[in-house]
Amino acid sequence: MRELMDSYDVVVVGAGPGGSMASYASAKNGVKTLLIEKSQEIGEPVRCAEAIPSIEEFGIKPSPEFVRNIIKGGILFSPSGKKVVVTQGKAQGFVVERKIFDKYLAVRAGRAGAKIAVKSTVVGLERDGDYWNVIVEFLGEEYVVKTKIVIAADGVESNVAEYAGLKAKKKPLDICSCAEYEMTNVELFDKNMMEFYFGNDVAKGGYAWIFPKGETANVGLGVRDKKKKAIDYLEEFIENSLASDKLKNATPVEFKVGGAPVSGPIEKTYADGILVVGDAAGQISPLTGGGIYLAMDCGLMAGEVASKSIKSNNWSEDVLKEYEKLWKEKHYEYLLNHLKYRKILEKLSDDELDALAEALGDNLDGIDLKKFVKRIITKKPSLLKYFKDLI
């Protein structure tokens, strides 16, 4: 591939939402950019439940090309079946076809001027003065691509940041192990509401979901458990749970598996000539496992900072640290808060989860944490011990 025989200012590894947005920003600013993806089809295999909040802030129209459904809120189910309906004013989200959406984002980067190498795996980085030699395998041949900056957007695998000496690997229980069937003929409570099921038997350390996607729905779950596997929880969820009745006529059209790194951001997301974005950087909600929006937003910031530093002819860590400052200003508090809530939720027994749902009432509009916690502890003082740190 001729793309691999050139040298670049910025090489982005991984054409997920993070990498494609980073490449877009970098190329649009006139910097010579290469995006490298190891799959032969960008967007495949899908490892996702495909729900995203608004994307208009990126200047991307929610086109029917990839939007499959509009989402108006969620319904939470406690282990015994108590329902809590959660909305956020008129806020809407979407369920998308990830393989089309991811490819759309890559095409958008290409149209902004980024070169793209597919079926090409980055297998190492070597420091060469102020440059990186990126070692790439394509069709069994090894290529060496010279670049000033590497943006590691390689998702949960996180090898690339480690090649550069940063710590990006996660502990097994810091990753939510997920399995999912996309199914048709799912009976839904409401075709525009996502369903979330909680309980230690349903999905220990995580939750099960049904996300309506138009003619299909993503039925899956994520767990953090040393003993029982996600796939076994999933078969049980379908066969024998609160949702079984509504799934009795459902049948799969796709199978998806994945790991969501849900323990907050990694220690450091920059060094000389390298930035880390998206799942690799732990920029994903530890509570919901939602990471598409964060990967896109932080990817954009990484691409902006990288191209600016190329133009100023200084891509040392002193300049690149601007990236971490920017994403932390916008998202750090959110990530740490979600980590805190998750740590509370995972301590609750099924009875306590039921009590929590009871205390929350039937409807929540917006998640105003202070009000939320006050409501819980006035109604269920027994839960105070878990929530007191939040007040």
Partner: protein, 57 residues
């Protein structure tokens, strides 16, 4: 060394994400474990959603 059951593997990359020795590579759809780098810590076995990895006992 950890064995991969290719018939069970869903090529999701979760195992790669926990291997601190960088012994695992997911080359497109194929998990490749480097025997020389693997320390038999079995962390990858825990995270696999499909029970596709079998550790050394």
């Amino acid at each position: 060394m950890v064995k991969v059951n290719y018939k069970r593997c869903g090529y999701c990359g979760a195992c790669v994400g926990v291997c601190e020795n960088l012994a695992i590579n997911l080359i497109e759809h194929i998990v490749v474990i480097d025997e020389k780098k693997c320390s038999d810590c079995n962390l990858c076995v825990i995270v696999c959603p499909l029970n596709a990895l079998e550790g050394e006992k």
